[in-house]
Symmetry: C2
Subunit: 189 residues, 2 copies
């Protein structure tokens, strides 16, 4: 029960198609064509189209949750934690930009796992909101609306999947440094 390479290939090919056209617009025959096989043959490896989406999204969502847990339990300052969150998003996203497209755009088609996903996402946002609030309290972060800060930072990080593939020469550490600088210090001189 460990011969999952073929299954993983299918999921990878499917994720690329899901990014290009969206989950609903991709047919099992599309995935099969890119795998050089017939649609029915896919079912030797996966149990349903739905199951492919679940695999893609839940794995990524749990990676974010696990990454954030380490950060929030660390001894870093609030701003250092924000920098670590930026680095976490760059690390996970650059390892799977296709899958991140599904996570961002097709989570509503999860059905059985939808509730679980929504809980992970809500908890994730709450944890970051707490880090920001703590930063404001400790006078590390400006006292403009916490929600505006949360929204602004998270929107940028959640869009990385669109942008990272365009940078052919990606240096994750350099990007993390520059992006942290822009998000934390702004763009004004």
């Amino acid at each position: 029960m460990k011969k999952e390479t073929r299954k993983e290939e299918i999921i990878k090919v499917a994720a690329a198609l899901f990014k290009e056209k969206g989950y609903s617009a991709v047919t099992m025959r599309d995935i099969a064509t890119d795998m050089d096989m017939k649609a029915a043959s896919l079912y030797n490896h996966i149990s349903s189209k739905q199951d492919i989406l679940k695999d893609i999204i839940i794995k990524l969502a749990e990676a974010f949750t696990n990454g954030l847990t380490k950060i929030k339990n660390s001894q870093a300052t609030s701003l250092e934690k924000m920098e670590a969150i930026v680095a976490l998003h760059i690390k996970i996203t650059s390892s799977n930009t296709d899958g991140m497209a599904s996570l961002n755009n097709d989570w509503m088609h999860l059905e059985e796992k939808l509730e679980y996903y929504l809980k992970l996402r809500l908890d994730y946002e709450d944890d970051i909101r707490f880090i920001i609030k703590d930063g404001v309290f400790k006078k590390e972060i400006t006292a403009v609306s916490v929600d505006v800060i949360l929204f602004s930072v998270l929107s940028t990080l959640r869009s990385l999947y669109l942008w990272i593939p365009k940078k052919e020469d990606l240096n994750p550490e350099k990007l993390a440094k520059e992006l942290s600088k822009v998000l934390i210090n702004g763009i004004a001189i």
Copy 2:
């Protein structure tokens, strides 16, 4: 307060459904159900499903292009222009959050109008990139990567459609002020 035409009603209902499930997952029968009619009756008012999407997206894309043209031809400083761009996005997005979901997520299904849309989007990004470059040259904007700044700002503005509907008491001017402050001055004290 002129009465909406039947076609406009359909487009509005369709946009709400497109936001909820994505263009491909919405059927003509879904739209008809929400309009309290049969799917075939929709064709007395619209020519195709595709045409609904085109109406939604192109109208918005042109509104952005027109708005940015005024800003770039103004005498404002680079930072003032950036603030005006923030306000432009808030204004257009808050007037049609449903449509903005299609613009962001379903543009790839435009078919005949796809090329035109892509040109508008590319020109839009180039215009903002120029404003940022000019700001760096005039020492109003920090000399970190222009693309990182462009990406960060535009990602946030393009995600407004997800966030504005959650703020039941939206004050566009106040939001523009706060968001500009966060994007331009950052979050650090």
